[in-house]
């Protein structure tokens, strides 16, 4: 205690830093207060009921599954792209980076509508499958992927950028092909960042409402379910489902923070 009080009296630490701290706590309150409030105001019994509700359980399963599918498929195709963007300088690279960030600025309901023109019944894909992808799990996954892809691509790109190019060059001169360098050097060194990008994408997919509700009201993902219950039955009915979803997302977030924590890595077994 004596230590802290002394630090506060140090010259240069005065009203200005105090003002910064006060403003900062206001912002933090904005982020945390609703989450704490809703969690505290929901009786445990309601939560238990919600967790036993088949409709809720199904929708949570659907949400997690669809977001997971979106993440896995995007990762398979997106990680190589992220590597290219991190390593190569080519014409149109800046444009490509901007395109990747586009979903962040497009309103998500508008994104849903736009997606519908690509996967709807009249679209090329719709005709190919014989019916619209709207209202299917694939459609939901696509909507989730569309809005959350930047998180994975940027995360993976930054992870690859953090790997010193000299490691890859040294590996090449030791006789390793580019593919071998990628799988034995770049990927193992970047996996933490890639994984946290994937978790972020997954979490963002789970929480997506705007784009998904345009593509599919049914089957019903949890954010849509929360919205419907709120509309049909009011705050109390929606609250317990909302809390359940919030808890899942927070759990994912904690896993993410643990994974992306910089620390000593164990050597892989030879």
């Amino acid at each position: 205690m004596a230590d802290t009080s002394r630090r506060f009296r140090r010259p240069g630490v005065g009203w200005f830093e105090l003002a910064l701290a006060l403003l900062g706590s206001l912002v933090l309150l904005l982020a945390v207060a609703p989450l704490i409030s809703i969690t505290l105001s929901t009786p445990l019994g309601d939560l238990r009921d919600a967790a036993a509700d088949r409709e809720v359980v199904n929708s949570i399963g659907l949400t997690l599954g669809a977001a997971f599918l979106a993440t896995v498929f995007s990762a398979a195709a997106g990680i190589p792209l992220a590597y290219l963007l991190a390593r190569r300088r080519f014409a149109g690279r800046a444009l490509l980076l901007a395109v990747i960030d586009l979903p962040i600025v497009v309103p998500h309901s508008a994104a849903g509508i736009a997606l519908l023109t690509v996967i709807g019944r009249q679209s090329l894909i719709g005709r190919l499958f014989g019916h619209s992808l709207a209202g299917t799990v694939a459609g939901i996954s696509l909507a989730m992927a569309f809005v959350s892809l930047p998180l994975l691509l940027n995360g993976a790109r930054e992870a690859f950028s953090a790997v010193p190019p000299r490691l890859e060059k040294a590996a090449r001169t030791l006789g390793a092909s580019p593919a071998r360098v990628f799988f034995t050097i770049s990927l193992p060194l970047a996996w933490r960042g890639i994984l946290s990008g994937m978790i972020l994408m997954w979490a963002r997919g789970i929480s997506e409402f705007g784009a998904v509700v345009i593509i599919a009201y049914h089957p019903m993902v949890t954010p849509v379910l929360v919205f419907r219950r709120f509309n049909d039955f009011g705050l109390v009915a929606a609250r317990s489902v909302a809390v359940l979803l919030i808890l899942i997302c927070i759990a994912l977030f904690i896993v993410l923070r643990v994974l992306s924590r910089p620390g000593t890595e164990e050597p892989p077994s030879a």
Binding site: P164, A170, L174, A176
Partner: protein
């Protein structure tokens, strides 16, 4: 044998051109140049990591300019060691063997033989982050040697090390070159390091190779004043006029052995200048009077700066002399004291 013919490369504001050189069988070649002159670019061109805009790279007479690096077997060692941080020392050393699909016995026997040679057997199970700078550089070297490279490329390999470790590794590098017969192309900005390891040197300034010569030749007869200054040579001075066997340097007539008529600079070798309290009676030598402005330890010699006070010297002229501790004491060097300096014609090199 490695041959470079007219290599040119432009990268942003930097550019090099007309780089040609030959690296003989089991020769130790050092390319010297200030930082940012494109030495790393040249190393990467030789390694195949970068393509030149023009010129060719030949190995044993075959054009390999566009061969992939993994096909060349030219191992590259960087200054910042570039060990794979997620692999143990043993895995690092075996990386190249694994990548090239060596036989199982080789994969076991060769790393251990090299580890023994470089004295790193005891750290084979550790991760790079836990090693000291010297150990890391040894491991990098072991990793490079494990593939039995046809050529060893070293990019400022010792710059991050302390003096003791640097001296030990310099010796190690010489030994590897001579005993294993692996030719070495070594790049550095440090003339002392170049002297310590190289058979032959090249000096690169402003994207061009200015001079290629043996170590003795390079430090005895640099080709131009820029090279001399870069090599850290003292007393490089502009020549105003040449008249017979004398050069006019800042108003002082200095007698020189057969100076070329177009000589633009002289270099007076500092270790060949004698400093004494009395004038020398030797008509063969250039003799001048001066006052001591500074002296410094310059292991194993002493460097003494003498500002010329000769009435014949109209302009300011200061010479640096390298003398032994014995003569330093004998002359009784003190800042401000008057001394006589003398040097033979042969101590003066003309450009």
């Amino acid at each position: 044998m490695l041959e470079l013919h007219g290599i040119a490369k432009r990268l942003g504001s930097f550019g090099m051109s007309g780089v040609s050189l030959t690296l003989g069988e089991s020769e130790y070649f050092v390319l010297l140049g200030p930082s940012g002159v494109g030495k790393t670019v040249l190393v990467e061109i030789i390694a195949g990591l970068m393509r030149p805009d023009a010129g060719r790279v030949l190995w044993e007479g075959r054009d390999i300019t566009f061969d992939h690096p993994e096909k060349r077997r030219f191992a590259l060692v960087y200054q910042d060691h570039a060990l794979f941080p997620h692999l143990t020392v043993a895995q690092n050393v075996a990386y190249g063997l694994r990548a090239t699909g060596a036989a199982r016995e080789t994969m076991i026997s060769r790393p251990s033989a090299i580890a023994e040679m470089l004295g790193i057997e005891s750290i084979m199970g550790r991760l790079p982050a836990t090693l000291s700078g010297g150990e890391q550089q040894r491991v990098t070297l072991a990793r490079a040697l494990a593939i039995k490279p046809r050529l060893l490329l070293l990019d400022e390999p010792l710059s991050a090390l302390d003096t003791g470790n640097r001296a030990r590794l310099q010796k190690e590098l010489r030994r590897i070159n001579k005993e294993l017969g692996i030719p070495v192309f070594h790049v550095t900005h440090d003339p002392e390091e170049a002297m310590a390891v190289g058979d032959r040197l090249g000096v690169m300034l402003d994207g061009r190779i200015r001079q290629i010569a043996s170590v003795e030749e390079m430090f005895r007869r640099p080709s131009d004043p820029d090279v001399a200054r870069f090599l850290g040579m003292m007393n490089v001075l502009p020549v105003a006029a040449v008249n017979g066997d004398t050069c006019l340097v800042r108003g002082v007539e200095i007698r020189v052995n057969a100076p070329p008529r177009c000589a633009s600079h002289v270099w007076i070798r500092p270790e060949e200048i004698m400093v004494s309290s009395q004038p020398l009676h030797d008509g063969d030598r250039n003799q001048l009077k001066g006052r001591i402005t500074e002296w410094r330890h310059r292991n194993p010699l002493m460097s003494v700066c003498v500002s010329l006070t000769d009435p014949r010297v109209p302009e300011h002229l200061e010479l640096t002399c390298l003398i032994t501790h014995a003569s330093f004491r004998k002359v009784g060097i003190k800042v401000g004291s008057s001394v006589h300096i003398a040097f033979r014609k042969s101590a003066v090199h003309c450009f």
